[in-house]
């Protein structure tokens, strides 16, 4: 078996044919990766799931994002914001690449429950799917601003991440919400 625990990141490993190879130097994967991962993993999956509507895809994105984070030199204090932004961009790209290729099951329903966190707002699966399709059609920056805001970033953080002026974040988010709502209304009232 070749499962490697975190303590082996900098280790030498002997292969089946007896060669020894440097797996990677310790400097390559930041030492605080595990701590950051454990504290933020669920959150990052949540961000990606907001875009993709699918937990499986969202977990794939989270893996990707943490892999990149592990090789980055992002200051630990900025990790959370960085991860949120990276997850948003990555998930949006995935959503779009799925659409490009003929929209297979990127926005597939993999058993998401109706969410109880806003108790009186029941959104059907069809509506969720429609919202993701609309999200994939939004200009990238607009979609990203929407997702970042709904992922808890402040207006100033959203502005910094997307190179928007702080004053325009509200307008950008509102515009994105209006587009998505049209999709929701269309599905809510087919007549």
């Amino acid at each position: 078996m070749t499962v490697v625990s975190s303590t082996q990141f900098g280790a030498r490993r002997t292969t089946a044919d007896g060669r020894r190879d440097v797996v990677r130097s310790r400097a390559d994967v930041r030492p605080d990766l595990e701590a950051v991962f454990r504290s933020d993993y669920a959150r990052v999956v949540g961000v990606a799931a907001r875009v993709l509507g699918s937990r499986d895809s969202a977990e794939d994105v989270a893996q990707e994002v943490f892999l990149a984070f592990g090789r980055s030199s992002v200051p630990a204090g900025e990790a959370r914001g960085w991860l949120t932004v990276a997850a948003t961009h990555t998930a949006l790209n995935l959503l779009r690449s799925g659409r490009r290729r003929g929209a297979r099951e990127q926005v597939a329903d993999d058993g998401l429950a109706i969410v109880p966190d806003v108790a009186d707002l029941v959104v059907s699966r069809d509506e969720r799917r429609a919202v993701r399709a609309a999200l994939s059609r939004l200009p990238h920056r607009q979609a990203a601003a929407l997702v970042l805001r709904h992922s808890g970033l402040s207006y100033a953080e959203v502005a910094a991440a997307l190179d928007l002026s702080p004053g325009s974040v509200g307008t950008t988010v509102r515009r994105a919400e209006s587009v998505l709502l049209k999709e929701l209304n269309r599905h809510a009232s087919p007549e």
């Binding site: 990707e64 943490f66 090789r71 509506e127």
Partner: protein, 361 residues
Amino acid sequence: MRHPSEGVLRRLVDEPAGVTDADRTHVASCSTCLRELDAVRADAHLVGAALASAGNGTDTDLAWARLSTAAASAPQRRQATAGARPDRWRAAVRRPAVAAMSAVLLLGGAGVAAANDWLPIFKTERVTPVEVTSTELVQVPDLSGYGDVAFTQQPETKQVPDARSAAGFTGLDVPRVTELPGGVTGNPAYEVAGQVGATFTFSAEKAAKAAAAKGEVLPPPPAGLDGSRFRLQAGPALAEVWSQPTGLPTLLVARAVAPTVDSSGVPFETARDYLLSLPGLPDGLAGQLRDLSADGGTLPLPVPAEMVTTSTAGVGGAEATVLTSRNGLFAGVVWVQDGVMTGVAGSLSAGELLRVARGLG
């Protein structure tokens, strides 16, 4: 006092402290604004609910084990083939999202995605991040600040069942991968695209505005440039895509008739050199413009230098551009021969991709 904008009301929902006292005071005593604020708030909650997903059920321990494996295995894939159960682990390290991104990056210049989106320099929004970094994800600027861009020909894109159909549809020779790199298995899917065309009409007025926005004055355009039209054309194209069971690509081989640009008025080079002389022209756009020529002999690849390193290598007599993401997660090789562009990309090492490129039949 006039009513604050919807953007201000939207911020009031989340961050009242971020709104000016004047706006807050106005809204509090204005029935129109209060009604509007209620609507904005309700909309925000509804969208929030639609975007939310079940928040529990992640197994962090399991996920951490997966990441540890991937992080430790990724840099030494070739060696991993010597291991006892290589395939399983090799599959685990091929991160689908990265593969998809590398496809976007490369096909932005070379294949089906290019056909879908046309030359990314003219449609930058679609090129978006090729990498997962955040704040440094600068937008590649586009030429729409300097004129009008119109699509004249939208390509038909579709999946075809086999290499023979792909060749029939595009008139191109389908590259045959003689030996798949380890970890890439199965048969490829074939995607094809017809020709795309777009015209860019230079507008001195727009260019002046773009310059003014940067606080600069537009140098006088060369005679005849204002209103000159440039026709851009690319395709047809085909791509062979090897995918993971999740449906995301691991290896991609694409071939396309290289993009060309020609002009109705002044030569394209004149327009290009003029654009390059403009104050405030973003570096990224300048680089892309320098690489775009009338004869289709160079690659208008939108390569964000801060994320990707480029080098060159020989492939069958042509000089190929080798792209490697700075994080080492994906790579690509692209070259042009006789007006036909071929690209190989994937979440593999540049060495592995070069072997594939040189072995194409």
